[in-house]
Structures are given as C-alpha cells and as structure tokens.
Amino acid sequence: MIKLLPSQITSLIGQPESGMGYQIVEVEYQTMLRKGTVYNAELLMWEHEPRTMLVEAYETLIKKASVSEAQLIESIRVVPPPKVAADSIAEKILKELKELENELLGVPGVPATEGEPRQTNEEEIFARFTAYKNDRRITPSNGLTPGTYATTKADAKNVKIGSEAVERYALSDPKPAVYRYKIEPRKDTVYRQGVVQPAFGHKGGGVEVIFDNGTDDKTVTGPAVLAP
C-alpha cells in the first residue's frame, strides 16, 4: 500500500476513472510492470494485497501507507477500460451519422484504436504499405497477424508513390513504403477504423484500420511495387 506523490496524484487526476472513486493502473516499479488499484487518486494498492484492509478508515490507511516506496515508481497510468458489449442499433446508426457528418465537415477523426469494432462486407478490399518486402505481419499462409494495421482501398488510391504513404499514414520509418499489399478479408472479419494522427513529423490524415484478430489465410496478395 503506497501513498502517492503529489506529481503522481496530479497525473492520475488527469486520467479517467475505472469506476466511481478508483482507477485500475499499470505501474512501472523498479523496472517491473505491476498492476494495482488507486483509490481517490492517492492510495495505491497492489493487485495481490487483500482488500479487507479497506474496511479501515481512509485516513488511517493513508497514514499507514508507505510514502518512500512512491519514489520507486517510474510511471503510472490508468488501464483503458475493455470495450463494452455491442451498442443498440439506434446507437450504432447515430454514431455512423456522426462519423459521416464529421467526414463531410472535415473534422479530424479518432485513431483506429479508439474506433468501434465493425465487420467487413463481402469483397471489401484493404491495402497495406510497407518499406519491407518481407513484411513480417504477413503469415506464411498469407494472412495478417492479429493487431496489424492497413488502410481502405478508397484511401489507398490517394497514394501513388512510397513517400506519399509515409506522409499520409505517418509511418515511423522514413524509407519510402514502396510495397503495397492487397488484403481481401473474408466477410465479417472484425476491424476498427480511424484516422491517422500526426506523428513522427508527418501530417497523417489517411484512413487507418486495425485488424485486431488478423485476417484468414490466403487473404493477402502482392506486393505491387511503387516508385519511391
């Protein structure tokens, strides 16, 4: 049980709660990554510590908590909540309308990691740009490994040369992404879609998708080779 430092408290106040009055956190502590719960953005209890201690008055707990151990914390961050169950149809329609409105108004969207899970339609096509011909995200049986990024076919049409892909998808590698793989997932493959955020000195702004579960075998072909 640790009483956090004022700077750590300030950091946690700026992060969302996991439930009323508490935050589930990941803590870098003496080069280890540990999990715990922080109460009132101030009192950290490790995952293994018995919650029966909490029956004591909060003030008593704070007095008992170790202050010196807080110095050993390198960083502390709230674990994002798991995705909730599917929205109702009405909520889904409203979200899609909002996305469409934002698109028409040119409002920047959220990254794919914050997008809602959706499923591919029949014969929907995606593309992936890379500077590496031996793209390690493509399995030997020509599927994508879980957690792989790509873009939509429509958005890929904006990219004619490898350096354009680097800028549009804010790729970390400055080498031109001259290899373009075509992805044709089976119908109902789960993915999330969003907008590439500026990063690594690039504007981003392209459409990005992430296949959380990857794609089936024989869904990736290519690469086509672009000019640098």
Binding site: D135, P146, Y169
Partner: protein, 72 residues
Amino acid sequence: MNVRIQLPAKWVKYLVHQPESGMGYQIVDVVLEDGTTVRDCVVFNAEEMEIPDVHAGKGIKEMRLRTTRNGI
C-alpha cells in the same frame, strides 16, 4: 544519435505476435542487460530497432510493448 540494430530472433518472434502501434511499426520500452531502461524505441517490421548509439551493443533483457502513439 539513434542507430538501427537488428533484433535477435527471439525478439523478432515475440514482436511478430504483438499488435502494431501503426502501419509497419511498434513502439517498445526495453530494459537492457546493464539495467538501463530505454523508452519509446521504434521497431520497424518487427526486426529493426532504433536505439541511442550509446546503448547499441548491449543485450536486451526485457521488452514492453506500447500499443498507442500517445506522446510521440
């Protein structure tokens, strides 16, 4: 100055099965064998990692994946 190093096969195998942080790259924190922690290293194609040149020859003891680009 950063240099690119080729990751040992063990780490390539590990990273291939972890999600990407963006198209074609992953962001990791690494703990080196001398105990130094180097944050926000970019790994390209699960095989080449950028790291400050002063740490280039050191072995990697631990690797933690960052799944978002926040802070970049």
